[in-house]
């Protein structure tokens, strides 16, 4: 009955985790899905830990609570790994995707024996290479799409191309870089 996919995002205020969750909702919506995208509003400041959520399904979604047992967790900032229990409730059949360059041993230690799949990506490198600036949310969006298989790479790229055209109507020079960030991230996210 349930094809519901639940995703929890961990990031820091200003990194675009909320925006990434809304972009993912948008992209999934455009492939015909029912979606929810919502941040957990707290005392938000630049740099403070924030949480955002996605529900994606082929059927209408009526639940209106936060997500406690996600299928996937996306960690946009690896400095959160020691201060936030990022694997809390994460299904062992699911996966966690982390923006990091930290060694495998370290990750296994801070994830406290999480038995599901662990994926990493160096979103800083991808973003610097593609955009010349550090915006981790675009690579992380591509990474969660790749790992979860919510849509194909082509569907994501096609949809985001249109979305960026609209979003960056006033600064079209950044569209190419963002598209490149997506493409690189789709290739570079890897299971450890």
């Amino acid at each position: 009955m349930s094809d519901l996919i639940e995703i929890r995002w961990h990031g820091r205020g200003g990194q675009g985790a909320k925006t990434a969750s809304l972009l993912l909702a948008d992209a999934a919506f455009n492939t015909g899905k029912y979606i929810q995208g919502f941040p957990e509003y707290g005392p938000e400041r630049m740099g403070a830990p924030i949480t955002a959520y996605n529900r994606i399904s082929n059927a209408p979604i009526t639940i209106h609570s936060n997500i406690y047992e996600p299928d996937y967790v996306v960690v946009v900032d690896d400095t959160l790994l020691e201060s936030v229990n990022v694997t809390d409730g994460l299904k062992s059949t699911g996966a966690i995707i982390i923006n990091t360059t930290k060694p495998v041993e370290y990750l296994k230690k801070v994830l406290k024996g999480y038995s599901g799949d662990i994926y990493t990506i160096d979103a800083r490198k991808v973003s610097q290479e593609a955009l010349g600036k550090y915006f981790p949310n675009t690579p992380m969006l591509a990474a969660i799409v790749k790992v979860s298989g919510i849509m194909t790479d082509e569907e994501l790229l096609e949809d985001m191309k249109n979305s960026f055209k609209h979003k960056f109507a006033k600064k079209p020079e950044v569209i190419e870089g963002n598209m490149k960030a997506l493409e690189l991230a789709l290739k570079q996210v890897q299971k450890i």
Partner: protein, 393 residues
């Protein structure tokens, strides 16, 4: 063909207001309803609507300006939350007693203090006796649909009362979800043009609005208001029928979800009803006959209809997202139990105050309520009907 979109609850309300294109919108920003006048003011700036947007300096002025505009003969709207509504308090009663069919979006938030910007229903419950029609919305779709139906109800000659459309702050106001929008021209046709019978700018009929009204007639005028509220029930049903013809979406005083053959049920309002539906579905898979009654029309309160709808149950829990601090129970609980008593329906009932100040309401919490109800059915005992759900231990 309806338009498939994805919008937050606030966006949905702003789009509805754009399609309605009222004469005047006066508003002052307050979280979590700020986005509504924010988005709407961009429609004004872009020339998408020809509304006069009044950026007032307080919510008291927002309600005063809508009262002035509506009394002059225009169609006026506003939006607010929590303490914004508190600051409107004086004018809220004046709007309804002057019989001005103003429409307001109330994005529910806890009334201070201490300061809290998150969702509960304490703002709405504070004005439940102020003579406004109050519609509640489970999600962005219902917030939008209720908005489209609002003017037809409020402006009907047998009603002429202001109306507020409630939705849960952040939970639905800031969550992006799928929605089906109605085309602009269809909305325009459905809502129609406002043609008030009496209005201040009618030079053929000079009149005063809101003069002194002492012992001789205030009582009679209050009874007229009360009768208008009773009349609203019929109009709400008629408008819902027309809306269903246009959209296929059916609305009534309340929604019964798997209630027909249910033995235990929850009564609640707004977004929690959606979470409850998911729990009902799960419990049904385990053979538990759980159901839900989601109240949409809270004022006028459909007492007789609710009593009838709940009469076959073995136990009922009423969920209040606001504590009345009266040592008895929440407002919805009191209304539902009173409805049962005067209609001679005797069903064991308990009250849960929940979700205060944005405390997240989870499926587990809702499931625990159904477990409690099963316990009540098997033991026949209710030790304490005034309970809390999701309270820290």
């Amino acid at each position: 063909m309806s338009i498939r979109e994805r919008l937050s609850g606030n966006e949905a309300v702003a789009i509805a207001m754009k399609q309605i294109n009222p004469d005047v919108v006066a508003a002052f920003p307050i979280t979590p309803s700020t986005e509504i006048p924010q988005y709407f003011s961009t429609f004004v700036a872009n020339g998408t609507v020809d509304t006069e947007f009044v950026a007032v300096e307080s919510e008291h002025s927002a309600m005063s300006a809508t009262i002035g505009a509506e009394a002059a003969g225009g169609r006026a709207m506003t939006a607010t939350s929590a303490n914004g509504l508190s600051l409107m308090w004086e004018m809220i009663y004046i709007a309804s007693s002057l019989r001005l069919p103003i429409v307001m979006s109330l994005v529910n938030r806890a009334v201070s203090g201490p300061l809290n910007i998150h969702n509960d229903h304490s703002d709405a419950m504070g004005v439940r006796d102020s003579g406004w029609i109050m519609l509640f919305s489970e999600n962005n779709q219902e917030a939008y649909d209720n908005m489209l139906m609002a003017h037809r109800i409020a402006e009907h000659k047998d009603v002429l009362l202001p109306l507020m459309v409630c939705q849960d702050g952040f939970i639905t106001s800031h969550s992006i979800e799928n929605i089906e929008l109605v085309e602009d021209d269809k909305v325009k046709q459905f809502v129609g043009t406002y043609k008030p019978e009496h209005y201040l700018l009618n030079k053929q009929e000079p009149m005063a609005i809101g003069p002194l009204d002492l012992q001789a007639f205030l009582f009679e005028h209050k009874v007229q208001q009360a009768n208008a509220m009773k009349n609203a029930k019929k109009v709400i049903e008629e408008v819902a029928k027309d809306f269903e013809k246009m959209t296929g979406r059916k609305y009534s005083f309340f929604e019964e979800y798997k209630l027909d053959d249910a033995e235990i049920a929850i009564v609640c309002m707004n977004s929690t009803a959606g979470t409850t539906k998911a729990v009902v579905d799960k419990l049904r898979l385990n053979g538990i006959k759980a159901g839900l009654l989601k109240v949409r029309v809270f004022r006028p309160f459909p007492a007789e209809e609710i009593a009838k709808s709940l009469s076959h149950l073995k136990a009922v829990a009423v969920l209040d997202k606001s504590d009345s601090l009266n040592a008895v129970g929440g407002a919805l609980f009191e209304d539902v139990t009173s409805a049962m008593y005067v209609n001679n329906k005797n069903v064991p009932m308990v009250n849960y105050v929940y979700g205060i100040g944005g405390r997240d309401t989870t499926e587990k919490q809702i499931e625990s309520v159904y477990n409690d109800l099963s316990e009540i059915v098997s033991t026949g005992k209710i030790d304490n009907p005034y309970r809390y759900l999701g309270l820290r231990k």
